[in-house]
């Protein structure tokens, strides 16, 4: 059984620069799959290889079991939503949406009808005869979606399609995109560098770095069980502490924190020694002094829904924690001695 898209040992080299190093991953049919990583990690290259704009240096790309690595882009049943939309400026909105249908040989009345339906789907029927330049960014983005979906691709590729929109529109479009994916049942492969976007929309995420996949998993797995320091640091906020590990038994590590306090937490590595420990700031609470880990409050940052409390452990390490700005919250003054309680799943030992 193969999935919608199977990437098998795909490498891509541009001159002396290796953009992808033998990446393998499998994307299921009907999945909202996200490639997440900082710029230059190879995520866009991977997307462009699937679309056919680049040729693979090594490896295979299977689309529903068929190797497409040597097909021209116009021979692949996948469509792309481009980062800056790439709407043809010399064609009307309707002509843009109908372009793929025309190229596939659909007759004029049918394609006009289908393009009209697509515009209806994205609520832009009234704009059919406008030029793309006359539309707002959000509208252009919806035209780009309609254009890419019109030929009914088996897989839709989205290259940071929300990055050109302002924050509010971006948040609204996240929900719309997710809904569209569920309604159409088409596999979406979404490229982004925005971890929040990835977490809110995806069924699964592949975190990439320097041409390699670091971790593949559901948003919850990625966030709560990052396999290494890079993933923990890239997804959400976290405190990274360099710690000594006494022993690791059954995946549980015995860790000595700066200041000598000992905790036991899940571990992504099997070797004892010096490692990094991730402690999520929202999984810690302030408790009265005397119950274990102790620190001094350095500063309080007011964030509206949350308060960010900067503390210094007695061993000298700086950490921050998030507490909800609820009505009954007591704000400690800088200099106060406080105890810290680590909740279930707050701490995790990472591989490097």
């Amino acid at each position: 059984m193969s999935g919608a898209v199977d990437i098998r040992g795909v490498a891509k080299v541009f001159g002396t620069f290796t953009a992808l190093q033998r990446v393998s991953l499998s994307i299921e049919d009907n999945e909202f799959f996200t490639l997440l990583g900082p710029s230059g990690c190879g995520k866009t290259t991977l997307l462009r290889l699937i679309a056919g704009f680049e040729t693979v240096t090594e490896g295979e790309i299977l689309l529903f079991g068929q190797n497409i690595a040597n097909l021209e882009p116009n021979q692949r049943p996948v469509n792309t939503v481009f980062q800056q939309y790439a709407l043809f400026p010399h064609m009307s909105v309707l002509e843009n949406v109908a372009f793929g249908l025309k190229m596939k040989g659909m007759d004029a009345p049918s394609r006009t009808k289908r393009a009209g339906e697509m515009l209806e789907m994205v609520h832009l029927s009234d704009f059919a005869n406008r030029a793309p330049a006359q539309l707002s960014g959000g509208q252009q983005q919806r035209v780009a979606l309609a254009r890419a979906l019109a030929p009914q691709p088996k897989v839709l590729l989205l290259d940071e399609p929300l990055s050109a929109l302002d924050l509010k529109l971006r948040q609204a479009m996240r929900l719309e995109l997710k809904q569209l994916q569920q309604d159409t049942g088409i596999t979406f492969i979404f490229v982004t560098h925005d971890q929040e976007e990835a977490l809110t929309m995806s069924n699964r995420i592949a975190v990439m770095r320097a041409g390699q996949v670091q971790q593949i998993g559901t948003p919850r797995e990625i966030y709560e069980a990052p396999v290494n320091r890079f993933v923990a640091d890239f997804i959400g906020e976290t405190n990274l502490l360099e710690v000594d590990v006494a022993a690791i038994v059954d995946g549980q590590a015995q860790v000595v924190l700066p200041g000598g306090f000992q905790i036991t937490c899940p571990s992504a590595t099997a070797e004892a020694g010096r490692h990094h420990l991730s402690i999520r700031p929202e999984r810690m609470t302030l408790v009265p002094v005397g119950s274990g880990l102790e620190a001094t409050v350095q500063n309080i940052v007011y964030l509206g829904t949350d308060l960010q409390v900067m503390v210094r452990l007695d061993g000298g390490a700086d950490m921050q924690l998030r507490i909800q700005n609820a009505a009954r919250v007591q704000v400690p003054a800088p200099g106060t001695r406080v105890g810290l309680h680590l909740e279930e799943g707050a701490a995790r030992l990472l591989a490097d």
């Binding site: 866009t44 462009r48 704009f53 680049e54 800056q84």
Partner: protein, 306 residues
């Protein structure tokens, strides 16, 4: 948005497979009908002249010898440096330099003024500057000749106004040639400087003023260094064609106001032609220009690295 190169290879290489076919016509046309002729001209400058124009295929340094060496009327005196042709070059260079300086003096303020107009009126100014750029140079030169003739409209007008009592003898003088060169290539100076000033960030002038620089100090210390590439490009666009100019000296100057262009042309007239010598003079002119352009290119690439 990623600049070219970073996110490039998409579509940017879609014509890779037919690159040679696409370039073949260019290589063929310019290679055969310009590069090859120039090389051939270099060869011709080392051949022996034939009396009726044309050449005899025999190696000879006579053309360069004629240019640089004086052996007296009968060729039996000791060789000394020949000044006749060097003087023609020297005069041409000086006239081209003066034309360049004049064009810069008028062109820079004009370009600056246009670039600082509001967008709506800027278009009109730009249009007005562009028109002469597109008007046939011959017609512009003829017009100037008509204007400054002995009893042309300029003299008549000045006489009528009582500014002068006798017509000024402008036509067929060095002054006329100088004026003609300046007039011919003035638009070539304005446009590149305008392009540079348009890109100039005026906040830099405000920053300079804020830091106590006067208007003219700002111009000298901030503006000129930044728009320098535009100024240099403009100067080259005026200087190079001025140096080899043919129309201005021929239509506005007299027999005495000989420039390189006329010297070359004369060698290819049927009866008194000396093709190897004409080719040699052309070689010397082209070498001068190419050296100048090479210096410019080296400078430009150096400032790019910076």
């Amino acid at each position: 948005m990623a600049g070219p190169g970073t996110n490039a290879p998409q579509g940017e290489a879609s014509f890779r497979n037919i690159r040679v076919q696409l370039l073949l016509p260019t290589w063929a046309m310019i290679g055969i009908f310009l590069l090859l002729p120039v090389l051939l001209m270099a060869v011709y400058s080392f051949l022996t002249k034939e009396m009726r124009g044309g050449v005899i295929w025999e190696f000879s340094l006579a053309a360069y010898d004629q240019f640089f060496v004086n052996r007296g009327l009968f060729g039996d005196e000791p060789a000394t440096l020949e000044w006749t042709y060097i003087a023609v070059f020297w005069r041409s260079i000086v006239q081209a330099l003066v034309a360049t300086a004049l064009c810069l003096a008028i062109g820079f303020p004009t370009a600056w003024f246009i670039a600082t107009r509001p967008v709506a009126t800027r278009g009109v100014w730009l249009f007005l500057i562009t028109v002469p750029y597109w008007v046939n140079l011959l017609i512009r030169t003829v017009s100037l000749r008509f204007l400054i003739r002995e009893n042309g409209p300029l003299n008549e007008g000045l006489l009528a106004l009582g500014v002068i009592s006798e017509p000024l003898a402008m036509i067929n003088t060095n002054f006329a040639v100088q004026l003609g060169l300046f007039y011919s290539y003035l638009p070539f100076m304005v446009l590149p400087i305008y392009a540079a000033v348009e890109r100039y960030n005026f906040a830099l002038s405000e920053a300079a003023a804020d830091l106590y620089a006067s208007r003219w100090t700002t111009l000298r210390e901030i503006v000129l260094p930044i728009v320098k590439p535009g100024i240099i490009a403009g100067c080259l666009l005026v200087f190079v064609p001025s140096l080899g100019a043919f129309l201005a000296p021929n239509l506005l100057g007299g027999a005495k106001n000989f420039m390189i262009g006329s010297l070359i042309e004369e060698q290819f007239k049927k009866s008194l032609g000396n093709w190897p010598f004409g080719a040699a003079v052309s070689m010397i002119l082209m070498s001068l220009v190419l050296i100048l352009l090479l210096l410019y290119a080296r400078n430009a690439s150096k400032s790019e690295v910076r």
